[in-house]
């Protein structure tokens, strides 16, 4: 059941922040696809919510804007809007790929990109692509407007740096070099409407079969989405023959195991993640 609470629609970012600041039991709602089911299953995470502030009518948060060096996605932009955006399709294909695997059509029509990483479930599908695209988050409060990297924003499962009186207003994605190629892969227990068990994102820039730049991120298989900087450093300057890609895939498995520790699922997931990553790399590097 939805608990007793109040509801208000904010029309500007400022009014949303003022409302948030005036009531410690207030919570923002955009798509509501985490909040409402959270109420239904009586999740502890939402038990204190007494006021919902709807941000869907704030025009500034509903836009996708292109600048010379970056694209800015408003925090109330839904997955469906993201998937059908020409700019996002051409500049950030991994994000479109990941967004297309989130929930069902009905969910994607409601759920927002920002809501996905603010909720910060381990399995948030948008996180690995956003991490390899070096996404930054703009956060506003009554006092200040600041930007931080998504990576620093995410703390642990279901926790971020967002304070109670703050709102995420946009996601800033720097445009990537045209020579960069990449892919996203999600493994779930079924093909549609699946919760990720393992997700991987990789971006590579090659110069005559030598890795000039590489970015690697995982989700679901790690407690939250993470980048693997040491592995990236290890790979830069190497030739992308199948021996090296195998070596890199084995290393990724070892690194993930270090992060997660041994679990009941490790014997299965370790091998799958290594094979998945190898196939992903091989496809991307031979495109």
């Amino acid at each position: 059941m939805i608990p007793q609470l109040n509801f208000v629609k904010a029309n500007t970012v400022l009014s949303a922040i003022k409302l948030l600041s005036s009531d410690k039991n207030a919570r923002l709602i955009a798509g509501g696809t985490d909040v409402i089911p959270g109420f239904q299953i009586e999740s502890k995470r939402f038990k204190d919510v007494k006021l919902l502030i709807d941000i869907n009518s704030i025009k500034e948060l509903k836009t996708i804007k292109r600048f010379k060096d970056r694209i800015e996605i408003g925090s109330a932009v839904t997955f469906s809007e993201l998937i059908t955006s020409n700019i996002i399709q051409s500049e950030f294909p991994l994000l479109v790929n990941a967004a297309s695997t989130v929930g069902s059509v009905q969910i994607r029509n409601l759920a927002t990109l920002a809501g996905n990483f603010i909720n910060n479930a381990s399995c948030a599908d948008s996180v690995p692509p956003l991490l390899v695209y070096n996404a930054r988050i703009e956060i506003r409060s009554l006092k200040e407007t600041r930007q931080i990297s998504l990576e620093k924003f995410l703390l642990e499962p279901y926790r971020t740096k967002l304070k109670k009186n703050e709102i995420v207003t946009k996601v800033v994605l720097p445009l990537t070099n045209k020579n960069v190629k990449g892919d996203f892969y999600k493994l779930g227990r079924r093909r549609a409407v699946a919760i990720s068990r393992i997700s991987l994102a990789v971006l590579v820039e090659l110069d005559n079969s030598i890795i000039k730049d590489i970015r690697i991120a995982s989700g679901a298989v790690t407690p939250i989405g993470v980048r693997f900087y040491d592995l990236e450093k290890f790979a830069i300057g190497e030739k992308v023959d199948s021996d090296f890609l195998k070596k890199l895939s084995i290393e990724l498995g070892k690194t993930i195991l270090k992060v997660t520790g041994l679990r009941w699922s490790s014997p299965y997931k370790l091998q799958v993640v290594q094979q998945m990553f190898y196939q992903l790399l091989e496809k991307v590097c031979n495109e």
Partner: protein, 159 residues
């Protein structure tokens, strides 16, 4: 102990199947509650109540949504279509005719949602492939396992 909240009623106005409605209701009511309990439109079904089964699918501003995940205040100013709105002058929509004709109904609980998801697909994409049909109805569960017939019914509705 959490304190009891004194709820302030929300005043909303929306278009439902082409007709304008104004309502004053509690802020914690969901769209599906308004439809079924206040407006008597019981064609929209409640299954899981957490956005997984799609039985409560409606179309809001041209896009399908789970009406169990939307709360009253959020539909203010929206155009909503339910299964009751797909019928014109008492005549079934061709999709509905084909659901009947190709045996795409067993218990019928998923049917309103299936029809609306298919309707929204055909509005956006007049010639969907079989994979596109499957993707469009992936958020609608049928436990009588009639997916094959449903896909067939949608395919036959392509004009």
């Amino acid at each position: 102990m959490s304190k009891i909240v004194k709820m302030k009623k929300v005043k909303i106005k929306f278009y439902l199947n082409g007709e304008e409605f104004s309502l004053v209701t509690e802020p914690n009511r969901r769209l599906i509650d308004l439809l079924r309990e206040d407006l008597g439109l019981t064609g929209t079904k409640e299954g899981c109540a957490i956005g997984e089964c799609g039985a409560c699918t409606v179309i809001i501003d041209g896009k399908t949504a789970n009406s169990c995940l939307v709360i009253a205040g959020q539909v203010d100013g929206c155009k909503i279509m339910t299964i009751e709105g797909i019928v014109t002058n008492g005549k079934l929509h061709p999709l509905q005719e084909n659901f009947l004709k190709y045996g795409a109904i067993q218990c019928g609980f998923c049917t309103p949602g299936m029809v609306l998801s298919s309707y929204a697909l055909l509005q956006e994409n007049s010639h969907p492939t079989e994979d596109e049909i499957k993707e469009a109805i992936a958020g609608n569960l049928c436990r009588c396992t009639g997916y094959k017939q449903i896909i067939e019914a949608v395919r036959k509705s392509i004009r």
